[in-house]
């Protein structure tokens, strides 16, 4: 008989007790093992797992900084930004990237192969970084993606600020354009820290001042769920806008300049400078492109068309084109001869329509001859024989020296990319480059009227006139007046880069040259009279033509072009007009260069219109409207 009690009431007590202890031991061992496992996971491997968990649920979404707004010198907005959308894929979220792209292509009607190529090109990017596959998405594309967001958590829509430029490609070569940074560019220090797909300036001011204009992108750190839906924003690092930049450009003069060019139907280049400071008031090069095409992600067809265009609209003629200066070079000859003491303002030289120098006859454009004249009248009427004579009395190195002082050798140093250096020959140059090493004095006679081995950019010509205008200081042209670095500091003036060189022209010499240039524009016999004259403003200037081909060969070349079905006008001379105003205290100086216009005086109306705009604006009068002197289809 077993007794009931606390110790249990059945047999096999010993066995039962030991087996229960066995269960206790087993459970204890298992739990100790579990605790150890969690110790390893949670304590020893903590940081590794925490990192993975964070990567799971946090997304870093870029907040793109708008580029700095560009203003004109009076505060008018020239270039700003608008909002547009782009569609990107986050590969970290995609199980099958090609399948995701295929679905995206199906709902947006975008090119699948092209999107795959973009992803392929960026395959070395970090896997969490969104890759934009559709730039500048249409509203319909954005709506399609948003509607399918649950099925496509790996596809994100990003807001991107996009550059907007004035309509019609105004000042295209000034602003330049923006585009994705190229892989080859990423190694440059100026692009350090940028990632592929970043938008940077690729031409013009956008390129040169890219660092200031770019700003710093911000980020949003958000929690997303396993389907990629944003749950909450954890932190936001706001983007810092690019610095606002105030250009030296006057928007009204810029518009006047391009209006006039277009009304006349010319291609070419022009610059208007404040001679005292070197600030550029307006500049152009035509034909041009529309920077807005680039801002919206340029299509390959537009890009190819721009590159294939024989007129080379992507090239900036103002600083890259090199041309013979023609008669405008007579200003350099005049200053050189006066300052070297070869002549005085009152020296008289006779013109009988031609002259024999170094055994060869050189013609004046006026075959009847200009008669005896001083420098003033020689500049007024652009007498070739007068300047041939100066060329005979000076060697090429002296001319080179003065051309250099006036900025016609080397680069002007303007803050635009890819400027070409202007060129003036010298005996040193001949010795270095020619097989016989010689410079022939007869060549100097051609150089004296700006022909032969002289090639200068229109910008260099503008600086030459600015230097004559300010009496001998060769300024460096520049485009930026002030920047606003943000943080509420407001506009900070940007000092100019300073003069490249300076010399003090003797006052009576300077007065004589200015007088001659004034007469060229203001007297009945002047070469630019009635084309460039502004009543009361004493516009002073000089015309010139740049030969595309020598006169001897021109007729034959044009006939050949006609026979080949090409426009013979491509062999027509270019027209120069260089100028400053007012004569005694110039406020504006510059150049207008019209391609194939044949006559320098045909450039003058454009310069006149811009200067009239300048004076009208300064004096608070209504701005003038341009009336093209060129009859439609003719006048070249």
């Amino acid at each position: 008989m077993v007794t009931p009690g606390a110790s249990g009431a059945f047999g096999d007590r010993q066995s039962t007790e030991s087996r229960l202890i066995g269960l206790r031991v087993i459970s204890l061992v298992l739990f100790v093992f579990l605790a150890g496992s969690f110790w390893v996971l949670q304590v020893l491997q903590y940081s590794e797992h925490l990192e993975r968990a964070k990567r799971n649920h946090t997304r870093t979404l870029p907040l793109l900084a708008p580029r700095g707004v560009l203003f004109d010198r009076h505060g008018e907005v020239l270039v700003q930004n608008r909002r547009s959308f782009r569609i990107a894929i986050v590969r970290e979220q995609a199980t099958d990237v090609p399948a995701s792209i295929r679905r995206l292509a199906a709902i947006t009607h975008a090119d699948e192969a092209q999107m795959l190529a973009i992803v392929q090109r960026r395959k070395s990017d970090p896997i969490f970084r969104p890759i934009a596959v559709i730039d500048h998405a249409t509203d319909a594309q954005v709506a399609a993606v948003v509607a399918q967001q649950l099925e496509l958590p790996e596809i994100v829509v990003e807001q991107v600020p996009t550059r907007t430029y004035p309509v019609g490609g105004l000042a295209a070569h000034l602003f330049g354009y923006v585009g994705e940074v190229q892989p080859a560019q990423l190694v440059r220090t100026e692009f350090a820290g940028l990632s592929q797909g970043a938008i940077v300036g690729q031409a013009g001011v956008e390129q040169v001042y890219n660092t200031q204009l770019m700003g710093t992108d911000g980020n949003r750190f958000v929690n997303v769920d396993s389907r990629g839906r944003e749950v909450e924003e954890l932190q936001r690092q706001d983007p810092v806008d690019g610095q606002r930049v105030q250009l030296t450009i006057d928007a009204d003069m810029q518009r006047a300049l391009e209006d006039a060019f277009r009304a006349d139907g010319y291609n070419g280049a022009a610059a208007f400078i404040d001679p005292a400071s070197g600030e550029v008031l307006a500049l152009t090069s035509l034909p041009a492109y529309d920077p807005n095409d680039f801002a919206a992600g340029i299509s390959s067809s537009v890009w190819q068309a721009l590159n294939a265009d024989p007129l080379r609209p992507l090239g900036n003629r103002l600083i890259q084109g090199l041309y013979m200066p023609g008669s405008t070079f007579k200003i350099v000859m005049a200053i050189a001869a006066l300052e070297e003491g070869i002549i005085t303002p009152d020296s008289v030289i006779g013109c009988r329509g031609s002259g024999v120098f170094y055994g060869r006859s050189f013609k004046c454009w006026n075959t009847k001859g200009h008669g005896a004249m001083t420098l003033r009248h020689a500049l007024e009427q652009s007498c070739n024989v007068f300047f041939y004579t100066l060329g005979e009395r000076m060697n090429i190195d002296t001319i080179n020296k003065w051309a250099t002082k006036l900025g016609l050798l080397g680069k002007t140093g303007i803050d635009l990319p890819q400027e070409n250096a202007s060129f003036m020959p010298s005996t040193e140059w001949a010795a270095r480059t020619r097989s016989d090493g010689r410079w022939y004095p007869g060549e100097t006679i051609s150089v004296a009227i700006g022909q032969g081995a002289v090639s200068v950019s229109p910008m260099a010509m503008a600086m030459m006139m600015a230097t004559v205008g300010n009496g001998g200081t060769l300024q460096t042209p520049h485009l930026v007046k002030a920047v606003d670095r943000g943080k509420g500091k407001g506009w900070e003036p940007v000092p100019g880069p300073g003069p490249r060189s300076t010399f003090a022209m003797r006052p009576n010499n300077l007065a004589a040259v200015r007088e001659g240039l004034w007469m060229a524009v203001n007297t009945p016999r002047g070469t630019a009279t009635a084309r460039g004259k502004i009543e009361g403003k004493d516009v002073s200037g000089k015309t010139g033509t740049a030969q595309v081909i020598s006169n001897d060969n021109k007729a034959a070349a044009q006939a050949a072009a006609r026979a080949a079905g090409r426009n013979p006008a491509i062999f027509d001379d270019h027209g120069w007009f260089v100028f400053f105003a007012p004569r005694d205290k110039p406020e504006v100086a510059g150049v207008v260069f019209t391609e194939h216009s044949e006559h320098g005086y045909l450039s003058a109306p454009i310069a006149k219109h811009v200067m009239e705009t300048y004076f009208a604006k300064k004096e608070g009068r209504p701005l003038p409207v341009y009336h093209s002197p060129a009859a439609p289809g003719g006048g070249r």
Binding site: P4, T16, S37, A53
Partner: protein
């Protein structure tokens, strides 16, 4: 029920069980918290409603002497088999298996209750009849009792829940004197046979599953996903955890089934190693305290009943928690007391009602 019986109720065990239930509720509250609505998910409230039902089950299993229940156990067993057959016939299909019957007010998962009936029957078979489990024939008697329930649940198909009937059987057989030599022998044979099974017995997809378990990073977005995310969830909790409602892995659904099979991982994420140790300690306390009830039981039926239930509890808790650490393949097994699931909670609380019943009546005749 006699008044003095209440004095013998094992309050510490009951409190520990209720504490684990509350920790489970809090974790479900946290992980289903909806940022948009500022409220916990519907799962939380359904689990809350299951608690009083579970307490009713616990009391129901407590008030009648366990011996009476054991004597009636063939009835319960037949009812359970009928219920499982009903599931096969009328069950609601979800995710490719039929486990639930719709009762109008809610759905019921009969397989969760099978182990209670099984434990009662086996306690009778080996305890009341003083049958030993030393010969193969003696073992087969129990196996025959086990087989119908196991097969019906296996066919749902729900291999996990079916497998969890085995500990009930082996636990009671162990108490009834199962020879440890046999156990050791079975393990050795299994180990020796495993290469043969691997080579000839497994389909390619099954081998693939094993390989994925061994190296989940082979298929990190597919089969290995849950295992990897479970480890990340647990590991990112660290020593002190991310805090209540601060977890990210479960709340943002990187870890699937986070309120259900993987509720412990969420606890580990939010309460850290400290929380893990606390809850592991509570579970171990519940197991030891229950084994104490077996030791104190006045007869073999009571002791065997308790051990059958505790064996199941121990196995499912350990398997589930090991799964959270990514150390065993992911199987659809809940964590008793803490995971979401009304039937599971009600059946588990009913089981503890039986365990309390045995201890409470240790002095009665």
């Amino acid at each position: 029920m006699e008044r003095r019986l209440w004095q013998h109720l094992d309050w510490p065990l009951l409190l520990a069980v209720m504490a684990l239930t509350c920790v489970g509720l809090a974790t479900i509250y946290s992980v289903t918290w909806n940022l948009a609505t500022g409220a916990p998910g519907g799962e939380f409230w359904r689990q809350v409603y299951a608690v009083p039902v579970g307490l009713v089950a616990l009391i129901a299993c407590l008030v009648v002497d366990y011996r009476t229940l054991a004597q009636r156990s063939p009835l319960f067993y037949v009812a359970m088999i009928l219920a499982l057959v009903a599931v096969m016939a009328f069950g609601v299909e979800a995710k490719g298996s039929r486990r639930w019957v719709n009762l109008g007010v809610g759905s019921l998962q009969p397989s969760e209750f099978a182990r209670l009936a099984l434990a009662l029957v086996l306690a009778m078979v080996y305890g009341d009849a003083r049958r030993r489990a030393r010969s193969m024939g003696e073992l087969m008697v129990g196996a025959l009792v086990l087989a119908p329930a196991f097969i019906l649940i296996f066919l749902q198909p729900d291999l996990g829940t079916a497998s969890m009937l085995l500990p009930v059987y082996f636990g009671i057989a162990y108490m009834a004197g199962l020879r440890m030599r046999w156990v050791v022998g079975a393990v050795v044979v299994a180990a020796l046979l495993s290469p043969v099974v691997w080579a000839y017995g497994l389909q390619d997809y099954q081998k693939g599953r094993v390989m994925t378990f061994l190296d989940p990073y082979k298929d990190p977005k597919g089969a290995g996903y849950q295992q990897i995310q479970a480890r990340v969830t647990v590991g990112s909790g660290g020593m002190l955890g991310k805090g209540f409602k601060q977890g990210t892995q479960g709340a943002y659904r990187f870890l699937p089934e986070s309120h259900n099979d993987f509720v412990f991982a969420v606890l580990a994420e939010e309460q850290g190693f400290v929380g893990v140790i606390t809850v592991l300690g509570l579970y171990l306390f519940v197991i030891w305290r229950s084994l104490e009830a077996a030791r104190l039981a006045r007869d073999r039926v009571g002791a065997f009943l308790v051990v059958g239930l505790v064996s199941w509890f121990l196995c499912q808790v350990v398997y589930n928690i090991t799964m959270q650490a990514g150390l065993v393949p992911v199987k659809g097994l809940t964590l008793p007391l803490m995971s979401y699931g009304g039937s599971s909670l009600v059946a588990t609380l009913g089981g503890f009602g039986l365990i309390l019943n045995v201890r409470m009546r240790r002095f009665t005749n």
